[in-house]
Symmetry: none
Subunit: 404 residues, 2 copies
């Protein structure tokens, strides 16, 4: 784990050196045939290779060897937060994914609209997958009409039958059981507190479910709600506090802007959605931040589709656009992924993630191409992803010496 | 961290195998030009290269990736002590640096003689940098005349205006604010306790400052004292207790003999100051110890001067003298640094430190030259420096099997 106390104590803001963290989601891969090349090794990447020549390379592990991470923990690790210690609940991730501005007083849950029969038994756990417009309208009605004593209530649409409910107030607690019976023909379960501390919160949430049912009574097939993943906003120190950085996040997908927001980054707004658009956004906001997190999504999307060639293409488009970033001459540029998504597996995986740190103070390690095999032998070795931020700060000379 | 409980439980003294730990201070480096060779890679080192051929190599990290250590924490890590857990305060390091024999009942502070005007305001924070002879005389006078109720007082000269003050007694506590106002024209600050536990100690230290002022009244420009870095002697288990070793320290500079003393090593006295002199001291005391720590300082000094060629020269002089050690046939010889000090940076850095463990039981890893790039691909991998002592003990076959 990045030692927060060390980082708080050692970081300096005397040095204005800029750091760029370029994350290609699901970057790591596998060959389609034994002995073949991975997606990254197949891609033509002259600019990324040049970074390796003047940088240090390695393989990073998001959570622990053998552990396949979701996007939430994988990004927390890249930002230097131990993803096991800071376990972000599903309700919060869902809220983060729609950029709902959560506060530390908030408790969030994932919601489904569902269909109930006259006896109150669930007949469809997804309310016939109502369209998103209906979802938006019903959420607006719930927010307007449901009252829970002593707390504010927000009901925010996600997509189709999915929504997020957030209660905001003092003393709300996690540790509530879920209401989804997981089968049809049974009524939704009551929310039960898992500890004495959560008794009051369970009462409030059960109150919400009851009131929501009354508001929705005439809206079959969406005449009930199922809630799960109750979670409080995690108390995370900000990257500004830990590292002395003024961080800007450049991401096309709301989930990643939301994750960046959790650790105190500001959102950089821009037009377009290609890597070149994102890099131009960094260049246009160069003076506003000294740390930029750039998130490229499509490497992961094509990996999950099993589309090896399209993933190669996204990597090549990042490489081709890279000069837009390099022209700004960041003192440190880190290129990595949050995890691996090999096209041959069509899913996230646990494999180490190729990583390069380029800076005038990087020790040349003989790596001349950016790829899994080359990085496995690189000068950074095989390291937990939480070490990346301390390494980036060091290469920017933004950490003071520890001890005399 | 070296697992103290494991080491205590597994070490055996049945095997008299000797271990030599040769530390070239600030050994790790960088090329002066991208793609060039480091200091160590530039040096002609046939004897060190031969150790690599029959040894295992790797890169060690003193504190954590990205963290640049001072000498104190870097050496503690080499000796197997977590340098974050055992955080040695500045006052103690200053006392250690003059080999003052601190005890666990001692509280130390760094002192400056300063000049005060008639109103008690500081006019010179360094008392015109009085010469060391004057410093010695004034410290003697303070030790003789200052009385603090219930504790012993030691005032020991360091150099010019710098001294160490040590209070010895029961119940002394850390957590005191400093007296240096950091500017002239203001009076020294009173010492304030940072916790209730330190109230009594603050009173005693303020008493010392007051009495010292009276003793020094007629000694302008050195008519006052400024104190900072109040710190207690850390409670460290000895290397003898942890590892079952009888340790001797060979070092030219008092700071490193002092650090060795903190972990229970004995000082090996000798004439001269070259690496050859140090190695002859080991040979002459071969039967007195089964572990030798040898400290070579000048690699770091020339690194801090930015003198690449002179650092190369020191490494070559170590290599040339190495046969003096090798003739004694130590079962294990470890060659490493406490941290990197690249000449191009003129300061300590966070970069991994080249390390070789040569022993009949080392696994050959294909390394044939001692250097950063070669070690980055070595069989020991990239490892925290606190792992080095367990590895050295294992290669000396001084650790029993864990479990059946």
């Amino acid at each position: 784990m990045a030692n927060f106390d060390l980082m708080r104590r050692l970081h300096t803001t005397d040095n204005p050196a800029r750091i760029v963290l370029l994350v290609m989601d699901g970057l790591g891969g596998l060959p389609m045939q034994p002995g073949g090349k991975t997606e990254l090794e197949t891609a033509r990447t002259p600019n990324l290779d040049a970074l390796c020549v003047r940088g240090s390379c390695g393989l990073s592990y998001p959570v622990a060897p053998g552990v396949t991470p979701g996007s939430g923990p994988a990004h927390l690790a890249l930002f230097g937060y131990d993803p096991v210690r800071f376990d972000i609940g599903r309700g919060v991730l869902e809220a983060v994914g729609i950029e709902f501005p959560m506060t530390p007083r908030d408790l969030a849950a994932r919601g489904n609209f569902c269909s109930l029969d006259a006896a109150g038994n669930v007949t469809d756990r997804r309310a016939g997958r109502i369209d998103t417009d209906t979802c938006v309208r019903l959420c607006r009605e719930l927010t307007a009409r449901v009252r829970v004593p002593g707390v504010e209530v927000f009901v925010e649409p996600v997509k189709e039958h999915r929504f997020v409910v957030v209660l905001r107030g003092d003393g709300l607690e996690e540790g509530l059981t879920e209401t989804d019976p997981l089968v049809t023909g049974k009524p939704p379960l009551a929310i039960v507190p898992e500890s004495p501390a959560a008794v009051a919160t369970a009462t409030l949430m059960n109150h919400f479910v009851r009131e929501a049912g009354q508001v929705l009574a005439d809206h079959h097939p969406a005449n009930g709600v199922l809630l799960r993943g109750f979670a409080k906003h995690p108390t995370l120190p900000t990257m500004s506090e830990l590292y002395g950085l003024n961080c800007g996040a450049v991401a096309v997908y709301p989930m990643y802007r939301g994750l960046a927001r959790l650790v105190g980054m500001s959102k950089v707004t821009f037009e377009g959605e290609t890597p070149a658009d994102e890099f131009r956004a960094v260049a246009a906001n160069w003076d506003a931040h000294d740390f930029f997190f750039i998130h490229v999504k499509k490497t992961d999307s094509y990996g999950e589709d099993g589309n090896f060639d399209a993933k190669v293409g996204v990597i090549e488009s990042v490489d081709q656009a890279l000069p837009i970033l390099l022209e700004k001459k960041p003192e440190v540029i880190v290129v990595t992924g949050d995890h691996s998504t090999p096209a041959t597996m069509k899913t996230h995986s646990w494999h180490g993630v190729p990583t390069v740190i380029a800076s005038p103070w990087a020790r040349f390690d003989g790596t001349t191409t950016f790829g899994e095999s080359a990085c496995a032998r690189g000068g950074l070795g095989h390291f937990p992803a939480v070490h990346l931020m301390p390494l980036a700060l060091a290469h920017a000379r933004r950490l003071n010496k520890y001890g005399a």
